[in-house]
Each structure stands twice: as structure tokens, then as C-alpha cells.
Symmetry: C2
Amino acid sequence: MSRQHLDVDPSWAVGGKPHGGYLVRSAVEVALDAEHPHPMAVSAHYVSSPDAAPAEIDVERIRTGRRVATSRVSLSQGGVSRVEVLLSSGSWEADSTPYWSAPGGPPALPPVEDCPRVPSIGPTGRVVGYFDHVDTRLDPSSAQWAVGEPQGHAEVRGWMRRDDGRDADPLDLLVFCDALPPVTFDLGLMGWVPTLELTVLVRGLPAPGWLRVVQRARLLRDGWLDEECEVWDSADRLVAQARQLAGYRLEE
Amino acid sequence: MSRQHLDVDPSWAVGGKPHGGYLVRSAVEVALDAEHPHPMAVSAHYVSSPDAAPAEIDVERIRTGRRVATSRVSLSQGGVSRVEVLLSSGSWEADSTPYWSAPGGPPALPPVEDCPRVPSIGPTGRVVGYFDHVDTRLDPSSAQWAVGEPQGHAEVRGWMRRDDGRDADPLDLLVFCDALPPVTFDLGLMGWVPTLELTVLVRGLPAPGWLRVVQRARLLRDGWLDEECEVWDSADRLVAQARQLAGYRLEE
């Protein structure tokens, strides 16, 4: 077991609480090694509400195989678990050709220049800091809730890239799979939806350039919804698939 | 941390290897409690190939909240980890009404009596023991590979119930999400596909009667595919969603 210290970067926080995808990315990063440099499957269970304060990351390597390494990673603050992660890591080849793909490719989006960037300060004054790091341009037709006209489709689509100009790496995909605004906005539920569980499958190395990201829900029931996310790269390849279980609250 | 002994039931094995869904079900069962009797989100990473031999299940309760409890569960044999599981458990109400559902309901299937039961001994003599426990009736149009005519859709659909006549409980859903024949059969790849990672979201308590199960793939690339599974109950409600990352091998 190895322990690493993490200075949680407050600029990633949402209303003072560190972004879940940022925490998972930080936890996974320290569990990779030279033979298994890329996440393959990442399962995160969010245990308690994190603070923008120092954290400890404990990594236990369960097995190191030739193709896959399995690790247990725990991110805690003051001895209290915030996020528990299981990681299967390996090594993706650049530019390998898919053997088979289901019909239906990346989401159809208007040109980037016709998609407005999501600001990190919303109309209510709430700060969603990670939008300073993740440059997110929403397809206006999937963001009509932003002008008070939710469409009832529970789908949000857009372009995404790093704000610092670097191309996305596989770790960024873990963040991007949890970065679109909640699809519940499109159902007129304007509250934030805290993630209980998030699993990301990384399917390959993203090609340089803008990524296309789409998020959908299938079912809202008993206060819980699924959010399904796909990330496609500029070569029209599916590079990440994710699903989360998150909580929603009906407005009183 | 608590430890429980598991006598692995060899009648669930596939070619001598215990069924992954059966192992996960066994691991999760011992981590539930009276206040959190149902799985909500289960993430399993398969670490090494299990044997039909005694196993130990170690449970560590990370946090016990009012609505959700989080547990880390490890199933091992002779000190070697076979499956690592993260579990968020809670309590589902019977018969709650969904707040919102996406268009598209359960898979359309022919009547049960027109769907042949999957036998536990295949044409090659391979024993798939869990089909003695899980009564699985395949939609013939999604199982043309069984007569040498794969359709190239990578989708398999069918009816499912327990063989012993009892109605399915939420733990059975963990098994059913990993019980259909591999969708790769429909692509003409007739090898078994070992699961690396499986996440199941249980979305409610299944109503009595037959369940409808559909499994699909999105992408085969670099030796790995996703298998996406939905389980619908007799009241037309989505009661489980799962996705796994599994390995495939091209025939030489």
C-alpha cells in the first residue's frame, strides 16, 4: 500500500465542493505505472462530501498482470473516505482500428463557433470552477433550459477540450465523462445532481482536437437517475463510455 | 472487516470456472444489512480466474449513511483475489412510479413459448451450468448464430427467470445482467468473452413473473468489447442496467 498527498485544487470546485471527476482523475493518476499507463475501467463510489482541502490517496495494487493491473484506490480527508475507486489499467495503442462498431456514430453537433461556451459563473452566481479548466461548448438545441425552455429530452451534447490548449489524454476522459451540465436541467429540474457511483470505460487514446460528448438519462425513479455518457474523438472514434447513478430532488 | 466462507457451488460453473455473476451475487449478499437490504450500484473487477473451490469473502463497511451504505468486498481463494467489488446499498420501495422515462420500453419479444430454452450443455459439449439455474429463453431472431447464421447485430434478447420457481429478487438481477450468451456470437466470434469489469445499477424491485433481458455491444476494439444490458420486469419497468468490459479473441 502506498500513500500520496493531494493538494486539492480549489479552482475545480462546484459551489465550494471539489468536482467528482477531478477527484477520480487525481486518484487514478497515482495508481498507473509504466507498463499500465492508461485507465481501462474505472469504478468510483462517492462516499462522503469532499472539501477543497488536503487529501490522502491510498493505493493498493491487487494484481499486476501482463495486460491488466488491478488497483484499489481510496481518497480520504482527515481519515474519512471521500471516494473509493477500483481501477483496471493497461495500455492502449494509438490509432488502432475498431473491429466492429454499432450503427450510429458521434452526436451531430453544430460547428464549434455556433456553440456557446459554458461560463464558470452561472446566472444565479453559483461558481462551477471546472468550466475554467474544461472548455465546454454546448449545442444550443440541447441547452434550451439555459433560456428557460427545457425540452424534456434529458439529453445534453457539446464540444469539449482542455482550456490550457493541450490535447486530452486518457485521464482527461475521466473528467469529461462527468463534466456536462446535468441532463435533468432539460427536464426543468434545476438542482445539482450528486453522483453516487460513476464507471468510465476508456476505449482508446483520443486523437488530437475537439472531443464530442453526449449525455443522456434513461430513468428517473425514487430520487435516482442514470446518466449515460459517450465521448467521441476527432477521428470519429468512441473513446470513452460512462454511466453514473446520481440523486435528483424534485422542486418543492 | 468481517470474513465469511463461501462454498462455491460447482453447478454454476462455465467449463469448470464459476460464473462471474454468481460470484458477485455471493459477495454482495454478505455485505447487505437490514437498513440497506438492496444493491443500488455494484462495481466488480475480475482479478484472476476463479476455481470451483472454497472461497473467502472479506467485507469492509466504509460508511453507513441513512439512505446509502458503502462497502468494499473482496472474494479470494487461497489468499489470491478473484473479484474486487464496490457496493452502494440502500432500500428500494416496491411499486414506486417512475418520475420520467426515456422513450423506448422493454425489448419486443415473441411469446415465451416461442423462445427456446438455452440448454446447459452446448453442441460442442461445453457445460454452461448456470443455465440450469437461470431459465433463459432466447428470441430466435437474436440467436441465429445457434444455427450457424450470425446476423452481425451484436444483440441478444430473451426471457429470464429463476429455474426454481421463485420470483427474482434484486440479487438475482446481478446474475441476470451477466447471463445471456455473449453478443459476439452474433458477430460469428464463437469464443467465450471473459469479463474484466461489470457494473450493475439496480433501479427497483422486480415485479413477479418473467423478466425481459437485452444485451448489446457498441464497440469491439483492441481485443475488448462493451456489453450493455437492460432488465425489464413484467410491469414494463427498467429494473437493472449494466455494462461490462470483456475480452474477445479473433479466431485464428
